[in-house]
Amino acid sequence: MGMPAFPEAAEEALGKTQQRHNLHHATHTIRAKRAGVVGELDDWQALRTAGADAKDEALAHLADYLEQLEENLTANGATVHWARDAEEANRIVTALVKAKETDEVVKVKSMTTQEIELNEALREAGIDAWETDLAELIVQLGGDLPSHILVPAIHRNRSEIREIFLREMGQVGRAAPEDLTDDPARLAEAARLHLREKFLRAKVGISGANFAIADTGSLVVVESEGNGRMCLTLPETLISVVGIEKVLPSWDDLAPMLQLLPRSSTGERMNPYTSTWTGTHDGDGPQEVHVVLLDNGRTHVLGDSIGRQALRCIRCSACLNVCPVYERTGGHAYGSVYPGPIGAVLNPQLRGTASEVDKSLPYASTLCGACYEVCPVKINIPELLVKLRGAVADQERPSAESAAMAAAGWVLSDPRRLGAAQKAANSVGRLLGDRTIRTVPGMGAWTSARDVPTPPTESFRQWWARERGTQ
């Protein structure tokens, strides 16, 4: 991967004051909005359970539901492709685009295509992939990486966006007007005009899907700007890249999802655009529909009985917005398109824990539990973090840390040893009197900014024995 471990990346991110300010503002705003609309429903907990159950049912019989999905899609005129990994998926999509003899495609925002780095693969094949979601457009024009699942340009503010538009739009299409201001309406207008040209010209559209319904063979995309619907209906050919965990058993399962997702993600009661497509229809919409079903590590996650719950994720990003660690470090520190709490558990599960960044991610949390509390499909992220820490600790053994833990375990497994250790601490306490400790060798990180409390001259255990006896 070549990405730095989380603590180093985080240190760098903490130094970016503007980014921290933007993140704090954005996450707190959306956090409050989410809490408001969730608070309006008295059956929220029941909805969460319904959402989690639908996903669990799909995951428990994944092969069956995927076959049903394929059958129904095919019957409706779509072509289904299976991709084991990112490379295979990229190869399939590139070949499909090339067959259309075009060198550009328009894209609906999709985490899955970002995960497999489809844009980069298309670029190498000489094909331009244009992102049409406003925030994705900002990220793409800025030559930047997305830093949030839902609001990829969350780390940017308006004046930065204005500069990017003025500088970059003209290089790849319709230029931004010279008198562009940082008024949001003006910025959106510039993006709209720039994109419209591309929508009308493109012969191929590429999307992901939020849900794939097995019993009807339908794909569903939920979005806010309407650009998705343009991509899904205007081009002659539509290619949808869908993670295999996106499948839902039946059309009925959509009901809880369409309540859980917008409230959790944008804090809206309903999302502005919900598009569904089921194969092809003569003379209406794309005449050729391809669906690429992607594994890329998912069956591996499925094999783990506790880890499996991470595949319920509907990418709402609520967990990012409440995470105090994400709030201070931003998305880039996670070294993946999946940042925040869900990224901290999903990436090491999908990619394994060999790289520096993947083995540091399970520790990028205080286990405060805020993510679990908001997750609309009840993914117990703290539980997964602890489990993954176990996997990392086992892989690193023997280490200085495992030796320290064993030593601590040896002391703590016996009250006499604990008592002896306490006496040692007591003598430090006696030596220091009530002076505060400012530096302790080996505890540099702690003492760099925090005063360490002085140990007392007598432990509670000693006091009790003295006052009350040892029974």
Partner: protein, 263 residues
């Protein structure tokens, strides 16, 4: 044991109250004996018979949360051995009680010890964080305390989201005579301690703690109170480094303070 839910203004000392085992937790035992002495004083004032089983050590939370769950298994075994047979086990620590109630079963499962799992399922539900025990089991919110100072309260994450203690600590504090209890802005946000997180991700931990310390000083409180000494030590260490003058106290210490025996 008594589960009577009467809420008296000044509870009369009970003649033969419930027998309670104090789970000191290794960190409090070693570093914060004052909190434990206050807990004993308070529980005895409320008529409980308090025992301190000398064979107890630690709940294993540090090992579990750092990824050494298997190494915590002997500590879980010791915990059930020591606390088996008590009506109630009480600890002035949300996070250690959280570890007992939420993680001991996971560890027993992880090491595949069914007998241990059965015993954990017996002891874990009888283990209470102090405010839960006072409000739910003893049925008191006014414990007869007196503390005439400006105080702000931070609900630590494990109390809040693992144990769901809700506003029990606050209702206990509100009933304290003379107290000026002020709301802490952003109270429910984590202070950044997180056990080994404070070492492994020191920069982020400090950034979070510094924000918490700022919120605390913004209230002009003289005292910040929590029900976990680990979080208190983290935030207190930052407040002290910045010479804020805000004093750190555990909930038990405030509740134990009376007009006769002022803190």
């Amino acid at each position: 044991m008594s589960t009577a839910a009467e809420t008296t203004a000044t509870p009369a000392p009970r003649a033969a109250g419930p027998k309670v085992a104090l789970f000191a937790t290794c960190f409090n035992d070693t570093m914060w004996p004052e909190t434990l002495k206050a807990t004993v004083r308070l529980l005895e004032r409320l008529g409980c018979e308090v025992e301190f089983p000398m064979e107890q050590t630690c709940c294993g939370q540090m090992q579990t949360n750092t990824g050494y769950g298997k190494d915590a298994a002997p500590l879980v075994r010791r915990f059930v051995d020591v606390f088996d047979g008590y009506d109630a086990v009480v600890a002035p620590s949300g996070s250690c009680v959280g570890s007992v109630r939420e993680q001991h079963a996971t560890i027993a499962r992880e090491v595949g010890d069914d007998a241990l799992l059965d015993r954990v399922e017996e002891t874990a539900p009888r283990t209470y964080e102090l405010s839960e025990f006072l409000v739910d089991m003893l049925g008191v919110t006014d414990v007869g305390a007196y503390f005439p100072h400006r105080v702000t309260y931070h609900p630590t994450c494990h109390s809040l989201r693992m144990l769901h203690v809700g506003d029990k600590p606050l209702s206990l504090l509100r009933a304290v005579k003379g107290i000026d209890l002020v709301e802490l802005p952003g109270a429910e946000e984590c202070c950044g301690f997180g056990g080994t997180f404070a070492m492994k991700n020191a920069d982020v931990s400090i950034a979070m703690g510094a924000d918490k310390a700022r919120q605390i000083t913004s209230t002009d409180a003289e005292v910040v109170v929590m029900s976990d000494n680990s979080c208190l030590a983290h935030v207190g260490g930052l407040l002290s480094r910045h010479r804020s003058g805000v004093r750190r106290l555990h909930l038990a210490e405030i509740l134990a303070s009376t007009e006769e025996e002022q803190l």
